[in-house]
Symmetry: C2
Subunit: 348 residues, 2 copies
DNA sequence: CTGAAAGCGCTTACAG
DNA sequence: CTGAAAGCGCTTACAG
């Protein structure tokens, strides 16, 4: 107690129980072919010594840790926090633990997280790329592939990658939520959030335009307000500029809930009636959105579904790590749900 | 390329470079006593084979992984998400990676996260307890201690534990924010969030009562509204009940920002003027709070400071793992800042 | 049912 | 400056 004791090893337990380390190992992993008497003796010895197997050694020898890593851009962003919770939930259904690693940095940091660190200790990876794009991802993940660690991509940035991917029906969901606005009588819908970079912005713009097109409404570039940062402040500012420019507008579609929430706050502060004068809709269905005033209409893209699909694919790869054709891409899309709330007018 | 290649090992590199594995190891860890010629040959061989050291083996042998685990209750809760980001930032300043593990479950799950899983692969632990209390924590962490993995507790639940702890000045901060309400002219301040269970509720109630006492205002139990869940909905409901009960109130102190935000939304929906008729203040300074309408007055308890202190203590233990007296408790408290915003009236 | 041996892939003194 | 040897703590066939 006074001198720091070395942690007990399997050999200590074996010696105390009067058996071999192999037998201790068999008892501890519930191997059937061990006599009850031996089993009891080993258990007692292990208890007495407070023995806990060294997970590092076990993992090195067996090649399995029972844990996967989830690599996400940023937990301060509620979308990723909620998605992470879904991934953790889905993993537990497969008996897998999750270690979350956060990127929140530059490209070099993203590369170092993927090549080193925790990802080296895990059996598989669910990866939501931040700065890296399709083919770069494949290059960086070469290391993981060499070590037989399967990777599943979650989100839209991995387009050209050879990794299996799970994503959302961005075009369709975006179109559906735009149609909710149209059904409420909107004719001049601002789109907040498009940009040129890879990711969800392009398909969401496409869905928005498709809805307008189907309704016979021509595209008006004055209503399309680019923002690369999809934060609350960007949404607030984009709408403030829209109003300052004197652009006529009767609805706002934020490409994610944060943008929509920022837009909503600007509209309310400006004294406009939502949804009377201006309707608002977002994309993501964050928990917070239900509590906005008025409650934000949005589309739930299928976070839980996507997390479930990602784990289904990953669990499959974990089982059949050697047989698969490395070129085979297994891509799946989650189901979405439009959620009308207080910021939209109900259809007639 | 067609048959899955085994990952290259240090022996493969050694063979190709015509040296011993020990030399390869020395080159890769930038050991100085290696000739430039050998160094170049080893580097070339490693590149050619796409060699990446097996972190598991390295860690087993060297006893260091360069990663710590952060164990937190729930990432959906913005407070923990923001705290996690601060811990990650602080760790990077010590050259440490962070693997986040989420509890979000029952006691048994909390125990299993602490004893097994990723915590077995890391050099140290920053742990924000959820269900476990002081002495139980020590029992569960016996395993980590045996393996010489230092643990630092973050938060208020570990009171009786022998682990070093970092926390907030709950009483003082709570008193200071209550005094902000008093300075704005409040006399009937509701306290939302007290409960009997371990944690921050008790000291925050104490701070609230101390402020009232100093101002010569008697305690009124009708204004003290217990809630165990510190969510937005609980805050909204508590205030709704307060209003329904016809209790006279001119200010609300939510024991965290989520409660305050819920309270604020109920007040605004009820048509009350904030801060004209009722002032509101919270505790935590979540990013979201600055964007409420009106912006929420609150107290920043020192999340970044606490994260920095936790890492300072942990880094110290990592350096001096054997010399320390296991009974020594190193507790530190973070500095707080009162943040007046739109939900309080400025003092005269 | 149990044990001796080999080995997972590294790093660490220790010789030379 | 470089290499042979031992060993981190386990698990895994393989004998018996």
């Amino acid at each position: 107690m006074s001198t720091a004791p070395s942690p007990a090893t399997i050999r200590d337990v074996a010696r105390l129980a009067g058996v071999s380390p192999a037998t201790v190992s068999n008892v501890l992993r519930d191997h059937p072919r061990v006599s009850d008497a031996t089993r009891a003796r080993v258990r007692a010895a292990a208890d007495e010594l407070g023995y806990e197997p060294n997970a590092l050694a076990r993992s090195l020898r067996s090649g399995r840790s029972g844990t996967i890593a989830l690599v996400v851009p940023d937990l301060r962003n509620a979308y990723f926090a909620e998605l992470a919770s879904e991934v953790i939930g889905a993993a537990s259904r497969y008996g897998l633990r999750v270690a979350v690693e956060v990127l929140a940095g530059d490209r070099a940091h993203e590369v170092s997280v993927l090549t080193g660190s925790m990802t080296a200790f895990v059996d598989g990876l669910v990866y939501v790329p931040q700065k890296l794009l399709g083919t770069e991802i494949d290059d960086v993940l070469e290391t993981r592939r060499a070590h037989r660690v399967p990777v599943v991509l979650l989100g839209e940035r991995g387009a050209d990658s050879h990794c299996p991917q799970v994503g959302y029906r961005n075009v369709e969901a975006s179109r559906a939520v735009t149609e909710l606005l149209l059904a409420g009588g909107a004719r001049r819908i601002a789109a907040i959030g498009p940009h040129e970079r890879a990711g969800s912005a392009t398909p969401r713009l496409e869905g928005y335009l498709a809805a307008l097109d189907a309704a016979g409404i021509p595209r008006d570039d004055a209503l399309i307000r680019p923002t690369t940062a999809w934060h609350r402040t960007s949404g607030a500012q984009a709408v403030a500029e829209l109003l300052a420019d004197g652009v006529e507008v009767d609805a706002v579609f934020g490409f994610n809930d944060m943008l929509a929430l920022g837009a909503l706050s600007t509209l309310v502060r400006a004294g406009l009636d939502v949804p009377g004068q201006v309707q608002v809709a977002g994309f993501d269905d964050l928990e917070e959105s239900a509590f906005a005033l008025p409650a934000l209409s949005t589309v739930e893209p299928g976070k839980r579904h996507a997390a479930g699909l990602a784990l289904e694919v990953l669990a499959h790869l974990l089982e059949h790590d050697d047989e698969d054709d490395p070129g085979a891409v297994d891509s799946r899309l989650a189901d979405f749900t439009v959620i009308p709330r207080g910021t939209t007018r109900s259809a007639r």
